[in-house]
């Protein structure tokens, strides 16, 4: 019977799909000079942010009849300002060929349905990381788990013994916290837990935890906050 060799048991690599926040440069017109001028202004607002930042060039917002954008010039311009163009999105097959020859990737055009706005957005083009706050108004019962994977978790009721709440960022409980509360589950040491009545089975910030038995008596049942101070878990009355 063949046995697994050593090489197979420890893979040297893996290929995985991953969702990343990428900066997108959306173009609304083709005039190289105007593009250059406005790009410089934008970068001047936050030069540090744009250094060595990968950027995708989005051609989808360009008018259909006018695809005569000078890609080579645009890429030169971006590199000049420290940006690293990595791919293009949208555009025609000619532009795709050109992109490939310039060692750029081609992003699949999946948002054709949402037709672009024809005016420049007031905000800088930088996409901020998604931050979705989850609000729960009903009590969280024993055995239930509530997770806010992309932001804060706000609970406007009691979290019972045997319940578990987790959040990427802060946790607020406007009631008694009797179950387990884990904030900063992705390692965010800035995350905090706030509650109106602390009697948690366990509180944790970015993996640093404390169990109920270790809870100081003067804090029990009182409004309190939990946070990390130099990697040490601190619990303080509010």
């Amino acid at each position: 019977m063949p046995s697994l060799s050593h090489n197979w048991s420890t893979p040297a690599l893996e290929l995985k799909g991953s969702l990343l926040t990428l900066m997108i440069l959306r173009l609304f017109e083709t005039d190289s000079e105007r593009i250059a001028e406005q790009l410089v202004t934008k970068i001047a607002q936050a030069p540090g942010l744009f250094q060595q930042a990968p950027v995708v060039i989005d051609l989808q917002a360009l008018p259909d009849d006018n695809q005569s954008i000078d890609l080579i010039e645009l890429i030169r311009l971006l590199r000049l300002h420290g940006l690293i163009p990595v791919a293009i999105r949208g555009g025609n097959s000619q532009q795709h060929q050109l992109a490939v020859s310039l060692n750029l990737g081609i992003m699949i055009d999946n948002s054709r349905a949402e037709r672009p706005r024809r005016y420049p957005e007031p905000e800088p083009v930088v996409a901020s990381p998604p931050c979705l706050t989850k609000i729960v108004t009903h009590p969280i019962r024993s055995g239930q788990q509530v997770v806010a994977l992309q932001g804060d978790l706000i609970v406007l009721a009691t979290v019972s013994h045997g319940a578990e709440i987790l959040a990427q960022r802060h946790i607020h409980v406007y009631g008694a916290l009797r179950g387990r509360a884990l904030a900063g589950v992705n390692g965010d040491g800035e995350a905090r837990i706030f509650c109106q009545q602390l009697d948690a089975e366990l509180v944790s910030i970015a993996g640093q935890y404390q169990i109920n038995e270790e809870l100081a008596n003067h804090l029990r049942g009182k409004p309190a906050q939990v946070y990390l101070d130099n990697d040490t878990l601190k619990i303080e009355p509010l």
Binding site: H138, R141, S142, G143, S160, H161, G162, A176, R178
Partner: protein, 268 residues
């Protein structure tokens, strides 16, 4: 419109079957067409507490499997007009309760009865879920004791996620807290959680408090629902619960113990 009420708790031995029998009897005493169903397949008890164990021919599972019809399985109570019992099967297990089968039986019962009381088995598995699935309202039977309170909390969570009303996004199951085996004396000495403590933890409205009473055990063993015992304070408490359930104002009579001579003297 018929109302389906589940009597549930998570924990065993807190008084679900006693409550189901007493509550159903109380509703029937008020003249409402009431049926009480035993969902504890394999551990059939309701028939004993209702005193009809010697009249069981067909059971709930027989009806689900089409081995007998509903009229053959329903047992009419001999004491109270308009009260019926649908017994569980003792020889099967909970898996015999299929969603489709239970739904079919419920549909038929809803046409004939005003109140359908579902006596849930203990636990949080299939049997308990089937008992609660079709419920419109729930009596959460809890003892003033930490493990019972925690299990009730778990069950309340399941009522808001595992029932038909939750799954189909209908208005939620209306929950009522029923504290059983309550002893004001032991609450006063600090041995037992108070009604207020339990209510604070579970955060659902309190329907009633049933005092710990010898008459409950006597009634169970005799097969007489405790609501039929005029001299039992537990029976009286259950009648109050029925009255409150039907929307009547009814003061909580069994929370405060009568004060002793000394405490009355010193007004503490």
């Amino acid at each position: 419109m018929a109302k389906i009420i589940v009597v549930t708790s998570g924990k065993g031995g807190v008084g679900k079957t006693t409550t189901s029998a007493a509550f159903a009897t109380g509703l029937a005493l008020r003249g409402h067409q009431t049926v009480v169903i035993d969902f504890d397949v394999g551990l059939r008890n309701l028939d004993l507490v209702m005193g009809c164990e010697r009249r069981v021919v067909y059971d709930f599972v027989n009806v689900i499997n089409g081995e007998g019809n509903l009229n053959q399985a329903l047992i009419k109570d001999k004491r109270v007009e308009s009260l019926f019992i649908l017994p569980a099967s003792q020889t099967r297990d909970k898996e015999a309760l299929t969603m489709k089968g239970v739904a079919k039986v419920m549909e038929v019962l809803k046409k004939r009865f005003e109140y359908i009381i579902c006596d849930s088995p203990a636990g949080i598995e299939h049997g308990a879920i089937m008992a609660m699935y079709f419920a419109d309202e729930a009596l959460i039977v809890t003892n003033p004791e930490v493990s019972s309170v925690r299990d009730s909390d778990r069950i309340i969570g399941m009522l808001s996620s595992k029932t038909r009303r939750a799954v189909q996004n209908l208005p939620p199951v209306k929950e009522h807290l029923l504290l059983t085996r309550y002893s004001s004396k032991r609450v006063n000495t600090g041995d037992m959680l108070s009604a207020q403590d339990v209510q604070e933890i579970l955060a659902i409205p309190l329907l009633g408090v049933i005092p710990e009473s010898k008459s409950v055990l006597q009634a169970s063993n005799a097969g007489i629902p405790v609501t039929l015992d005029k001299n039992s304070n537990a029976g009286q408490a259950y009648l109050d619960v029925v009255a409150r359930f039907l929307g009547e104002e009814c003061p909580q009579r069994f929370i405060e113990d009568k004060k002793g001579f000394f405490s009355r003297l010193f007004g503490s």
